[in-house]
Point group: C2
Chain length 319, copies 2
């Protein structure tokens, strides 16, 4: 029984997976295949789990909100398909990016179709304000990605500018996932706001952890090359904070690295070492811990129901 299966967080993951396996298909075969491939490549399904946990925290049952939860993951998948076109990515979660196997043309259209298909279903199935929240979220994600492109290789990027980008491109979907789960389960405005705030703070911390992993994890764990963000000239938070130390020599080294046409592996390694030497990793851990704390404080007034404890545990896992 599904309700009995809600003994631990692991089972929420299994419920989402089962829902995708049994219930996801669009009218376009090629696009269904591209999405299934992307889903099969992995992922922790954090966004749908946020929706289900928020629904449970509001007194709902996870199994009643699987469809809404699935839309959150699919918005994420659609943005990933377009990101890989935008970034010219070769791999995603360790397998070929959609654009590599299907071509950029199909990738652009597959992402568009998936966005449209999600909104078509959401506008049919859900009352206000859920369709508005999801479309506003997609606007935020894309706006954040445009801001990120504009900030590429800009050594003057501030922590505030970084946080604005992370809040839009990453945290907005976590916030919406939690908010919509709460709304769908009939939570009151106070709980909805708290769960949304949790999602925002969690999402910013999540992006910071992602930035750190790009520098410190190995390729097998990441499913993409180490230092990939640096190669893409992204102003990640460890780099922003390392540069904020004000060392001119390091700044010059970063500028030369970004200006180079073809960086060698040792050039990437030198910048990674420089980020560490100038406190970028340590300072990021501290800022990240602040957002995890903020996330947990947002939930504190709601009590300690099991679903809230699971959300708190997810936040702690970022430390």
């Amino acid at each position: 029984m599904l309700s009995a299966a809600r003994a631990d967080d692991r089972d929420l993951y299994a419920m989402v997976e089962e829902f995708f396996r049994s219930s996801f298909a669009t009218d376009n075969e090629l696009i269904t295949e591209a999405v299934r491939r992307m889903l099969a490549a992995g992922g922790k399904r954090l966004r749908p789990r946020f929706t289900l946990l928020a629904a449970e925290a509001a007194g709902g049952r996870a199994e009643d909100h699987l469809r809404l939860a699935a839309f959150m993951e699919l918005i994420h998948v659609a943005t990933l398909i377009h990101d890989d076109v935008v970034d010219g990515a070769v791999t995603r979660r360790g397998v070929n990016a959609t654009a590599v196997d299907f071509g950029n043309r199909i990738s652009v259209l597959a992402g568009d179709y998936l966005f449209a298909w999600i909104f078509k279903n959401v506008t049919a199935d859900y009352e206000r304000p859920i369709p508005h929240i999801l479309s506003s979220t997609l606007a935020d994600i894309t706006d954040g990605e445009v801001l990120q492109l504009k900030a590429l290789a800009d050594p003057d990027t501030t922590l505030a500018a970084y946080v604005e980008i992370a809040a839009k491109k990453t945290a907005s979907l976590f916030a919406a996932s939690a908010e919509c789960g709460a709304l769908a389960a009939g939570a009151g405005p106070f709980a909805v706001k708290a769960l949304r705030e949790f999602g925002t703070a969690y999402g910013i911390a999540f992006q910071m952890r992602d930035d750190l992993l790009d520098l410190t994890a190995d390729e097998a764990t990441l499913g993409k090359p180490v230092g990939n963000d640096l190669r893409e000239r992204k102003m990640t938070v460890p780099l922003v904070l390392a540069l904020a130390g004000g060392d001119r020599e390091f700044r010059s080294a970063v500028e030369r690295f970004f200006a180079a046409e073809d960086e060698r592996p040792e050039d990437v390694a030198a910048i990674v070492a420089g980020i560490g030497a100038h406190g970028g990793l340590v300072k990021t851990e501290a800022v990240l811990a602040g957002y995890v704390e903020r996330a947990k404080q947002a939930l504190a007034p709601l009590g300690n129901a099991p679903a809230l404890a699971e959300l708190t545990a997810l936040a702690d896992a970022l430390l």
Copy 2:
């Protein structure tokens, strides 16, 4: 006064232009600029005019539905921005394609943002079923484009397959534009259905006229090279109908043309001549006239209000 300005169809165009000039801006400057540039490059604003005329036909005032009408043009603009990425287009309406001036990365994101911005506004401003119609329409447009990509260079494409693609990628937005204008002005189900049917038949005829112009108009009129569809290996209706004649030599010539890496201008000219010689142009005119007739028949039961006469005139203008 706006209401006095509704003496002829030309003024509806002016109202839409004025609305874009005075009232269009998104939160992202770069994207607002890209969209304004695309709007400034021209276009007949047929889709918003459909919305306004349908609203008038339902007893509404055009000036009360300018915002809804503008969304129809913006959906069109967003699809054009992505089309140009997908097609690798260099020019659009005689000026540089967005992707040329802004790059493919910004173009993908600009289209995404514009779609999201439209849905964000539509879900805030309009009741069911308008948000659902617009998102379903975008799903149809994209689905049609994927089907078109799959049919590229396929000499076995049938007229029925062509019509399915044109109905989805082109006619669906004309149908939605008319349908939503009628709905917003409070039309009854009979009138809504008739106006939607008009839009569908008009849109298929419109795509057929577009296909013909690609073969017969000059580059200055088109704002893009003559025979562009052929170079892109698109199975346009004149080509489909010319091949349906069953001439094996012509079919072989088309297959060789599509298989060639770099076609010379004289190769394009030879296929254009072959399409004419095998009745492709004449047969297309006949099929197109059938859809114009179908469009007019859809409106006939609604009477002969001025707005309906203008819609009929727009259909006749395709002949």
